[in-house]
Each structure stands twice: as C-alpha cells, then as structure tokens.
C-alpha cells in the first residue's frame, strides 16, 4: 500500500505510532524510575526526569520485608508448574494421537471448555478441600491450581503439533523396532521443541503473575511476589517507593524471558486464533 500513500499520510502514521509508544512505555518508565526515586520526590510535579537514584527501597524490601523469600517462592511455584505442564501436556498430546478411535479429537475439543470456568468458582471449594487435609499455606495449592488450569491449553497446543507429524515418521520408527515410548522420547519429544518453548513462556507468564489462587492458598512462608505486592497495595496509603521496587523486581525477569523468546510467545498467543 506504500506506493500509494502520500507524504502527509506517512507522517501521520509515524505520529500516531509515536503516541502509541509513549502511552505504552510511559507507565513502565514510571514504575521503574519510581523504584529508584527518593520518597520525598515521589509526588513532585512536574516529574523529575533526572534525579539522584537511591537504593533505599530495595534495601528496605530485602532487609525488613524479607522480599527475597517472595522471589524464591515465585521461582519454586512457576518452575514446578512449567515443568509439570510441559511433561504432562506432551505425554497426553502423544496419547491423544495414539488412540485408535476418534475419541482423541473429541477430548481435545472438550479440553478448551475448561477455560470457561472462572477461577473463583474453583478456588473456594478447593480451599475448603485443601484446608481439610492441612495443605493450605504450602506450595501444593498454587502449584496444583496453576497446573490444572494451564494443562488443558498446553495439551491442546502440543496436540496440534503432534497431529501435524507425518504418519510415516512414527511408522518407520516402529518398523525399526522402537517401542512406542521410545518413539516418543527419541522422535516426538525433540520435534515438539517449538511447542514446548511456546508452552514454557506462556505457562511461566501465567504462573509468575497469578494472584488470586496464591492470595488464599499460601501463607507467610510461601507467599509469591504477586501476594507480596498485593500486601503493599492493600494498605490505605501506599508506600510508592517500596511497592514500585517490588513491582520492578517482579516484572523484569519475565520481560527478559519474553524478549528472548519473543517468537514463541507470539506463536503461543496467536495459536488459538490463527492456526486451527
């Protein structure tokens, strides 16, 4: 279409794009800069673009609030969830492919209906159940919940990959004497790498950022980052320096992962809409 666009149209496009970028990036700049901004300058308008950065907020988070523990807890939860959904999801996807009847296809369609169940509808009875067996306040709650919620999507994502593998490939392995499990380990799983990468970044994003389940199912020793932040904003007056620093710590690892795995993030996000 470029061949037709007049100069002023092209300039207008850049102007709109510039506005879009400013709108998207300013809030991120605000939270990152506020985490290094002295408390007294927090409400100074116009905002100081150049200021003397301070590490006092970070120091308070780590020394007084034991924030590193929240970080570790988030790592424990999200890595366990990501690992188990990838293992379980790829196994089930292969299982769906192996079914003789067409039951596999039907099951995959049913899988996505799970997305329609609101988290709160699961959380309340799940809390009662876990409470009865004294598992509230441990990592078990959020890990189980996040796994169950993301597993259907991960299975569905991998299933569409496995379905695309040529039949001859699996058969030739069979002729060469490989068992079906060996075929999975040596042929199917390695070929799934792109789907695994997409699942990894999407599940990580979900589990790392999830709040509601963790808010109720964890306790002081197992709080993840999101609950830590929730406790800061629950206060009547927010300590902006501390909570901004907490937010920055929470978002940087994911932004880094998302940046390096951009391609897989995009395929994962668009999988539902464009592929099938």
């Amino acid at each position: 279409m470029d061949y037709r666009a007049k100069l002023h149209v092209r300039i207008l496009r850049f102007v709109i794009l510039g506005i879009v970028l400013v709108v998207i990036l300013t809030p991120i700049y605000i939270v990152v800069s506020n985490s290094f901004r002295p408390t007294l300058e927090m409400k100074q308008m116009p905002p100081q673009l150049i200021f003397e950065p301070t590490l006092i907020h970070l120091q308070r988070l780590i020394e007084r609030d034991n924030f590193l523990r929240y970080f570790r807890n988030t790592l424990v939860i999200s890595i366990s969830v990501t690992f188990s959904t990838i293992v379980l999801g790829s196994l089930s996807a292969y299982g769906l492919k192996l079914f003789q009847s067409r039951i596999g296809e039907r099951l995959t369609n049913v899988l996505l209906l799970g997305k329609l169940v609101p988290s709160i509808t699961i959380l309340i009875p799940l809390y009662v159940m876990l409470n009865r067996i004294h598992l509230t306040g441990t990592f078990v709650g959020p890990i189980l919940a996040h796994t169950a919620i993301t597993l259907p999507f991960v299975t569905w994502l991998m299933e569409s990959f496995v379905r695309g593998l040529p039949h001859e490939l699996l058969e030739s392995a069979n002729i060469d004497g490989a068992t079906r499990l060996l075929t999975f380990r040596k042929i199917v799983f390695p070929l799934l790498t792109p789907a695994i990468a997409s699942a990894l970044v999407l599940v990580m994003r979900f589990s790392w950022n999830e709040l509601m389940f963790s808010l109720q199912l964890t306790s002081i020793n197992t709080y993840p980052l999101t609950v830590g932040i929730a406790r800061y904003v629950g206060a009547i007056s927010v300590d902006w320096g501390k909570s901004s620093m907490a937010a920055t710590i929470a978002m940087v690892p994911l932004i880094v992962i998302g940046f390096f795995m951009q391609k897989y993030l995009v395929t994962g996000l668009t999988a539902g809409a464009v592929k099938s």
């Binding site: 794009l17 997305k115 609101p118 709160i120 159940m129």
Partner: protein, 303 residues
C-alpha cells in the same frame, strides 16, 4: 456410538498406552477442577461454614441463590463485571485494529523495533498494572499534572476517586495491558491476507475504510471471534487489576463478581453464599461466551 475395538493388554498395540499417558493429566484436572467444581456446586445448596456439617440439618435448597438475587452488592457486581467486559472488549477491538493495521503499513525495520516494545505490558502481572495505574490516577499524581496543562481538573474527570468514573478508569488500565494482545493476534491474521486483494480494491478506487470493512473484516471474522472469546472470558474473571487499583471502591463502584465472591468467602466468611455467587458467575460466563463458542465451532465444522 463409536464401534468397540478389542482392548489389548499391551503397550505396543491398542489403547492401553494412550490411556496410561493421559492418566496423570486427567487425574490432576479431575482432582483440581472437576471435583472442586462439583463440591462447590453441592455445598451451594447448604448452609456451610467450615465447622460441622450435617446433610439433613444444613440443607437450604435454593436459599443461597435467592440471597444472591436479593443482595444489592451482588447484583451491582454482576452489572459492573458485564460493563467492564463490554467496555474492555470494545476498546480492545477498536484500538487493537487501528494499531495493527497501522503497524503493518510502516517500514519493516520500524515494525521489528516496535513489536517487542508493544509486547511488554502483556508480560506484566495484573497486580503490577493496577499498581502502576493507581500511581498514575493519584489526585496529586502525574495524570492530573498532565491534564492540568491542558486545563482539565480533577472535577472534570474524577478518575478512581468517584463512583461515576472509577469503572471507566479500571477499563482504561486494562486496555493498556491487553490491547497489545489484540494487536499481535490481528497482525498474524492480517499478514495472511493476500496483497493482491488490496491492490485490486485500490485500483477500483476504494477508500481505506471501505477496504477494511469489505475485505479485511470479513476475512478476519474467525480471528475476531477468537479474540472476543479469549478476552471475554478473561474480563469476566476480572479480579487482580481491580484489587490493586481500586480495591473495589469507591462505594463498591468497581467491585466485580470474583471480588465480591472472594470477599464473601474469605473475609466474612460466608462460604456457601460465596459458592452460590461463583456458580452464578460460571453460568454467566457460559451464557455470554460459552454458547457463542460452541455455536461457532459447530458452524465451522459444517462449512
């Protein structure tokens, strides 16, 4: 019915291996989703609050459901959730479409620089998004300073401080986070449309709007449908962003179904009532987004 085939007790033949492969996943989903869901549904017909529980004594029938429809806050939370959903989705589609179309018309180099930047809000936790916007909306904060430069004061747009605009303010914060999702998905759909279609249309003298309405939109109908469903379901569940941005206030003007149910379940506690409310939330989700989803799948298969 599916024709029954022989079942082999062997890993190399028949359905034993697939059943074993799927068993762990199915077990997890059953234990964490199906059983709690049924249990919650069951308890919503009882008067239950942690302590002792006797089926005969504590059965209350539909009382909890009647209580939901007699509870003003519950009805308001349903209304807010639906308004939030409608507002958020319409804005997402509107801004998402404009940005996606615009982005594709820019030079490749610019696109490849801009795209990763656009993805950033999507990677943030909703609670962080709420926190950031709470700072932005602060009466002494940056938004009102900027608006003040063009002569708009807090009484013109009270933001999160007044019931009238609080919900709109949360919707705007939500747009900021999820419009990029729509942009990414639409872009994937847009690049699949053959360029010749557009060239032909331009030669015939069609304007940009006609081209979008007559060519792009019909071809992307399914993509829009999926965006509608994914975003729709996510907005009906809305909790985190409201939790950190307004906490449901002022005067409950931004309380959502999930938040009201959460408070009733864990702050009161009023467990069986909260379960009834959360079942209502699920029914609403199915009615508003599940039915179109199933119908859409059916027509797709027929085509």
């Amino acid at each position: 019915m599916i024709k029954q085939k022989r079942f082999y007790w062997s890993l190399e033949k028949g359905d034993l291996l697939p059943v074993l492969l799927m068993a762990p996943s199915v077990l997890i989903v059953v234990f964490v989703m199906v059983i709690p869901l049924s249990y919650g549904l069951f308890l919503s017909f009882f008067n239950f609050n942690f302590g002792r529980f006797e089926i005969a004594r504590d059965f209350v029938g539909l009382l909890n459901y009647r209580a939901v429809f007699a509870d003003r806050t519950a009805l308001r939370s349903i209304l807010h959730t639906l308004l939030f959903s409608f507002g958020s989705i319409s804005g997402q589609l509107f801004f998402g479409t404009i940005i996606a179309v615009l982005l594709l018309q820019l030079p490749r180099v610019v696109q490849s620089v801009v795209r990763p930047l656009i993805l950033m809000p999507l990677l943030l936790s909703q609670i962080v998004v709420g926190l950031i916007w709470r700072y932005i909306y602060d009466p002494q904060g940056i938004l009102y300073w900027a608006l003040g430069l063009v002569g708009i004061t807090i009484s013109d747009f009270p933001g999160v401080t007044a019931s009238s605009t609080a919900l709109l303010s949360t919707v705007i914060a939500h747009w900021w986070q999820v419009v990029p999702f729509v942009v990414i998905v639409l872009t994937a759909g847009l690049v699949a449309i053959p360029r010749e279609l557009y060239e032909a249309a331009y030669i015939d003298g069609a304007g940009a709007f006609t081209v979008f309405w007559r060519i792009t939109f019909p071809l992307l109908r399914d993509v829009y449908m999926v965006i509608l469903l994914i975003s729709g379901v996510d907005t009906i569940k809305i909790f985190d962003i409201i939790y950190s941005l307004t906490g449901g206030g002022p005067n409950n003007s931004t309380i959502s179904i999930s938040m009201h149910a959460f408070n009733q379940a864990f702050m009161r506690p009023n467990l069986s009532y909260a379960m009834a409310l959360s079942v209502v939330a699920m029914i609403i989700t199915f009615a508003v987004f599940g039915v179109p989803f199933i119908l859409n799948n059916r027509t797709k298969r027929e085509r």
